[in-house]
Structures are given as structure tokens and as C-alpha cells.
Amino acid sequence: MREAAAARARATVWGVSLLAVAMGCQAPPPVPCGAAEGAAATCAQACGRLFRIGCRIGANEAECVATCLRAAGDGTVEDVSRYGRVLACYAAAADCRAVADCSLGCGPMGGPVPFRILDAGADREPMCVDDASEPDDEPSAARPVGVPSRVVGVACPADPDLVSFGLVAGTSYALTLSYDAPGASASLRVTDGAGVEIVAAPEGPTPRTVSFTAAATTTAFAWTVSTAGAGNYELQVGRP
């Protein structure tokens, strides 16, 4: 019974999360990654393990490795810096459920691995798995944060993420937006409660930084928009 309950809880983590997040529900607890930070393995090791424990991708290990290279590298070489940990987790998995847990918990910041999730290969745009703060696409749904604070999330192209924070007249503020996805391009702007732009950093490679001095005591909204590339981002809200 305990196992069934645990299985239910685990299932909730991923199975429900995308839908729940979309509906504004509480984010489920993260799935722990079964490999340590810095651990690494090769696609061949990962696929060898998958086939030994009876969960397969493709008709044989070679096909699995090819899939791995496409998903976790450039098609020929694994990106160990990004995917080494999840490959190590796969290579040590005891069963197929553990493999699935690796996919859910060995990504950046303990979240899902940003494979090109269920895409059809290089000819399709990768599907973006957004974070638990969604929906936060408009001021009424913005995530309130203090000053200073550090906000992390997943950026999906053309899907703005908003945070709100309080301004005190005459106080200077600085915001820095960083993405971990190589080649990511983003914009960052700050508006007041009426939607009037206070400051903006136009589209460009991250990090993007803006700073300003508040003219009035009000609530401000920081808009982060990824214009190219999906990935994890970090937004620092503070003072210069």
C-alpha cells in the first residue's frame, strides 16, 4: 500500500504537473534525481542499462544510442555538461520507473531534463515544458517577489513570465535576466501598474540588465520574454 501511495505521489509529479500547472494548481514536489551532481555516463552506458532492465527505445541498443545522441547532444557527441547527470542516472537505474524518474528529476534545478521532449527530430521545434509558476503571463497573474530576490523558471518562446515587486519612490533598482540555453535570446522590460513602460532591455542575448530609479511608490511588473530558445532562466531583482 505504501508503495502504491508512493507511486501515486510520483505519478503526480510529472503526470499531473503539466496540466495542473496550466490550470494554476499547486506545483507537485520534485522528483529526486538518482545521480549525484557532476556524475556522467555515455549514451552507450545508458542504453546498455535500459536494454538490460527491459525498457527500450528503438529496436536495439545501437538505435537507442543514436536516439540518445540526437536528444542529448549534437547527433554524434553527448553534451556531457548538460546531460551527463541524467545519462548517469539512466545507467544506474534499477527499473523502468527509475528511468522515468531520471527524466523528471535530473534536469537543471532538479526539474525535468530539457530534452527535445517528444519532438520529431531536428526538423521540428522542440516542445517547451513550462514551469510551475504558469500561468504568469499577465499582470493579474504575476508572481509577487520581494526586493532583493532571485527568481528561477523555464522560458518558453513567446510566452512571457511576469513577476511583480514593490517600488519606493526615489529608490534605484537593477534587474538581470540570464538564460542557460545556448544562443537564447530574450527581452526584459519593467512596467508600472498601469502598463506604462519604465525601462526595457530589447531582444538580445542574455544576460540582459536594466536599471532605473522609481519615480513613484507603486507596484512594478518585470516582463521576461524568450524570443529564441527554450531553457531555464534566472532573474535577479535588486538594487544596483
Binding site: 510529472w14 503526470g15 494548481c25 535500459l50 539512466y90 520507473r97 527524466s103
Partner: protein, 528 residues
């Protein structure tokens, strides 16, 4: 004067399928009474089939040699055939092989997991009753014809096809062998304790049971005195029933690695599971206007545990030809349901959609409508759809279903039996995108005492009538058996089936793919 509760039952054909007709008859126990009512002015009639009283044992054996087409590959298809009967035990043994002459080997996926070996026992059955009529078992898995006054317990093991539980508002036209790569041998049972108790139960797969259910119906007024029996049986009847269906290991979410779905050695999708249960209470009242016209009112209240509630109000209008030539039954159903209730949750597509709801563009549109267009994942399970529906609030919604059930009879008196039966259902739920359901079946048992025909067409996740009929993304089954003489026969089987794509990259894009399966064989059987 025995009345046969399943007398109107059809012959489901082919090497494959616990006959659905018992279910249909259970769904509609008055099928036999329609015949009875029509004979009120004359002799009582029964829908007799090819049966033998007290035939203690029989042994037929032979074989088939045929052609099969699957995935564009041509196979030679020899099949060993043996039908054995020994008192209350019967078994239809089949050894269906598909041999690829180009590669010089058998189709591996037909015999690569435990469940595949149950192909040998197409129908293994135990039947008990005091005066039941033995059916000569040819893999049809029909229940016996048992008088209403008798007791009857039947347990049948084999593939399940077009199975309906109770009134069908929870489980309708369920088929457990939609993917020919994975054979599932299920169990279907019928229980009858005189006219007072009727029951059904089923399990989807004896090797990996997951979906199971039962229905129990009580007819309190049927236990009347001899003096009032006629009144209650033929003028009005009340039935109270409950049923429960549970998918204990319903897929909650598909396992992935590298962003790709994982499969096991036999090519089954791997997934996290979490049970889905639907409980239902039924109330039914039937009134007969004279001998030809009947009116039935049914009410079902169903609850998908942890999700939504739905109610189904049905009115059946029944007309029986005065001389028992035909019977026409029309159905109108109004559904009042919460957004997170799915009528007929366990339907004809459930065997596949439990793992991949988004089989078709219509299903994908339905999912996107529920999630606000944010979901293109081709591997969303049906349970994930259900969970997404939870967020749509509590406002009650309406839905409708219309149905038609036509039976033609042949013969008279004791030899009267069903000649043709056609069923049709069309359903839609308002305020829901692409969730139309269409089902039609045709059954012709023993046409000219030589030919059996069974055909089924089911389509789901469509919006308009223009999309009602299409081969792509539909579920189709056609089986024909033609007895050329006492020893030789021809069989033809066509199925529009669903298979999980094997190629890793194509699997990501498509998941299950709709395809054709064709079989044609010449058979020989000799009674030993």
C-alpha cells in the same frame, strides 16, 4: 414453456471474441421478451439456435489454410482447429500461425509474450444450469440458451469483443484486442438466478488483469406468485442494478527517456499507473402497451471516483411486429454531467486510448480545447485528459445519445431465431470539442444455415456528421464464415486495428497507428 433470456442473442464470429451478444442481451434483457410479447396472441416463441440438449461430449478437429495481410506483409496462415465439449466444459482450440514465406519464419510478434499463448484457447468455458442447451462450440463463446426460470452460471475465457456492461453508460462495446501484436485473453461471465437476479462480470486479461467490472441487477417483482407472474413479466417490470468497473492499473503517464516513450521487450508502452473506477446505479422500469408496443425508462447515475458525476436518462420505445417478423427499438438518451465526467469512459477505443488518448486529430483537438491549446504531447493518456477536465469547474453540461436496434427474425415457434440484428448509436456532448461517438454493428447469424456475418464500425472524437464515416482512425471489424458443406468452410476477417509503431522516431510522432488486418482461409473440420 421456457423463455430464453438470451434468445435474441447474436452469433459473434470468427476465431476471436467472447460473444458480445450476452452482454447485449444483458444490456437489453427484453430482446427475448420482444419475441415473447409478439407471440402473445399465439404460441410462445423462443429464439432457438443450433443447440443440442444433453449432448455430453463432442470432438471436432481439422484445420484452416489461409492468407493474412498485416503491416503490408503477406503471410501464409495455417491454423489447427479443434472443438471439444465435455459436459459443462468446452474449449475451442486454435493454433493460428502467420508464416512469412519471404523470410521463412513465423511472425515473431504473434508469439513473444505470455498472453500470446492464450491464442490457442480461443474460447474456454464452463457452463452450469439445470436445463441449458449446449452450444456446439466453434470459438464463438456464446452463452447457453437458458430458460428464465433456470439458474445459469457461465464463465468464458477468450478475447473480448464488443462487450457492454449493464446499460452501457459506463462500459460499452469494449474490445480488448485492438492491437494484434498483443493478444489479451479475458474472462466474461454471466450469472442468472431465475428471473430475479441477473449478473455480468469480466476481466480484460488473465495474464495481466487490469480492467475488471461487474454488474448485478435485481428484478424484485419478478419473484411473483404464479398467479401474478404473467402480469409482472409482461406488463411492467422494475429493475434495480449496480455496477462497478475499475481499471486498476490505468496508465497515468507514459515513461520516457531521452524524451522518447519507453517500451518493454514485447513492445508494450511502459507507464506509471493509477486506478480509475466508475461506479454506477441503475433504475429501470418497463411498461407494455398491449402485445406490440413497449416503453422503457431507464436512469443511470455514474461516478468516476475522484472526478465527476454523470446521469443518463434513457427512453426506449419498442415496437414488435404482431407476427414476430421484426422488432424495432429506438433509444433517446439525455445526459446531465459534470465537465469532469466522461460518459462510456470504457468504450470501444479504451484498449488503446487508455495509453494514448490522442490517437487522432479529433482527440488532439479535444485535449487542446481542455488544456487551452497548450498541449501537443502525443502521449497523453486518457487519465490525463480526465485530470485536465477536473479544472473545468462544476457547471453541469448536457449530452445526448440516439440509438436504433433492429432485429429481424426467421422461423416460427420453437425454431424462431434472429436472422439479422443491426445496432446504431450516435452520441454527442454539448460544450465539448470533438467528442462525438458513433457505433454501428450488424450481425447475421446462420444466414441460410450457412453464413455467419459480424461487422462493427466505431468512430470517436469527431465534431460533425461529415466526419462520421471514414476508415482512417476508425475501429472496424468484419468477420464472415461460410460453411460450404458439412466439412469445409471459408472464413474472411478484416480489421481496422491499432498498432504501436516500432521505430523509435516514428513512435514519437505517431504512437499508435491505424492499419488494416486481413485474413482469408479455407477450413476443414470433421467430427470424430
Amino acid at each position: 414453456m421456457p423463455r430464453l433470456p438470451f434468445g435474441g442473442a447474436m452469433l459473434a464470429l470468427g476465431a476471436g471474441g467472447i460473444a458480445t451478444s450476452p452482454a447485449a442481451a444483458q444490456d437489453d434483457p427484453r430482446l427475448s421478451l420482444a419475441g415473447d410479447a409478439s407471440s402473445a396472441g399465439g404460441s410462445e416463441t423462443t429464439a432457438e439456435r443450433d443447440t443440442d440438449y444433453g449432448d455430453g461430449s463432442a470432438f471436432d478437429t481439422g484445420g484452416q489454410l489461409g492468407y493474412a495481410l498485416l503491416e503490408g506483409i503477406n503471410y501464409v496462415a495455417p491454423t489447427l482447429v479443434s472443438d471439444i465439449q465435455a459436459d459443462f466444459f468446452q474449449v475451442a482450440v486454435r493454433g493460428p500461425l502467420r508464416f512469412d514465406p519471404r523470410r521463412g519464419k513465423l511472425r515473431a510478434r504473434d508469439w513473444d509474450e505470455l498472453g500470446d499463448f492464450f491464442r490457442i484457447g480461443q474460447c474456454v468455458r464452463l457452463d452450469w444450469s439445470a436445463s441449458g442447451r449446449y452450444e456446439r462450440e466453434h470459438g464463438h463463446c456464446m452463452p447457453w440458451d437458458v430458460p428464465t426460470e433456470d439458474y445459469y452460471l457461465s464463465v468464458r475465457l477468450g478475447p473480448i469483443q464488443d462487450f457492454t456492461l449493464g446499460h452501457g453508460t459506463v462500459l460499452r462495446s469494449y474490445t480488448n484486442n485492438v492491437d494484434p501484436d498483443h493478444f489479451h485473453s479475458g474472462v466474461v461471465g454471466n450469472l442468472q438466478f431465475h428471473a430475479f437476479v441477473q449478473g455480468q462480470f469480466f476481466v480484460d486479461d488473465v495474464t495481466r488483469p487490469s480492467l475488471l467490472g461487474a454488474s448485478l441487477a435485481l428484478r424484485p417483482f419478478s419473484y411473483a406468485s404464479e398467479r401474478t407472474e404473467w402480469l409482472y413479466e409482461y406488463e411492467h417490470m422494475l429493475e434495480i442494478a449496480v455496477s462497478v468497473v475499475s481499471d486498476l492499473y490505468a496508465p497515468a503517464e507514459v515513461y520516457t527517456a531521452f524524451g522518447r516513450p519507453l517500451v518493454d521487450r514485447a513492445g508494450n508502452l511502459l507507464f506509471r499507473s493509477r486506478g480509475v473506477t466508475v461506479a454506477s446505479a441503475h433504475l429501470e422500469y418497463r411498461f407494455t402497451f398491449g402485445s406490440q408496443v413497449e416503453l422503457e425508462v431507464r436512469g443511470d447515475a455514474n461516478y468516476i471516483t475522484g472526478h465527476g458525476i454523470g446521469t443518463h436518462a434513457q427512453i426506449w420505445g419498442i415496437y414488435n411486429h404482431p407476427f414476430g417478423v421484426y422488432s424495432v427499438r429506438g433509444l433517446g438518451e439525455l445526459r446531465v454531467q459534470q465537465p469532469n465526467y466522461v460518459p462510456n469512459y470504457f468504450d470501444a477505443y479504451y484498449g488503446v486510448q487508455r495509453e494514448q488518448f490522442t490517437l487522432s486529430e479529433g482527440a488532439r483537438r479535444q485535449l487542446r480545447a481542455v488544456t487551452g491549446g497548450s498541449d501537443d504531447d502525443p502521449f497523453k493518456t486518457k487519465q490525463q485528459l480526465l485530470e485536465a477536465l477536473d479544472a473545468l469547474g462544476d457547471a453541469w453540461q448536457l449530452g445526448v445519445l440516439a440509438g436504433l436496434d433492429v432485429q429481424l427474425y426467421r422461423g416460427e415457434g420453437e425454431s424462431r431465431r434472429t436472422a439479422v440484428r443491426g445496432r446504431l448509436f450516435l452520441a454527442d456532448n454539448f460544450e465539448r470539442v470533438a467528442d462525438g461517438q458513433f457505433f454501428v454493428s450488424l450481425e447475421i447469424p446462420r444466414l441460410n444455415d450457412k453464413i455467419d456475418v459480424y461487422a462493427l464500425y466505431a468512430r470517436q472524437n469527431f465534431d460533425g456528421l461529415a466526419d462520421l464515416v471514414a476508415l482512417e482512425d476508425s475501429l472496424v471489424k468484419v468477420s464472415v464464415r461460410w460453411d460450404l458443406n458439412e466439412q469445409f468452410y471459408l472464413t474472411l476477417n478484416y480489421g481496422r486495428i491499432w498498432q504501436l509503431v516500432r521505430d523509435a522516431e516514428a513512435l514519437v510522432r505517431e504512437g499508435f497507428r491505424s492499419d488494416d488486418e486481413i485474413g482469408l482461409a479455407l477450413g476443414f473440420a470433421e467430427e470424430l
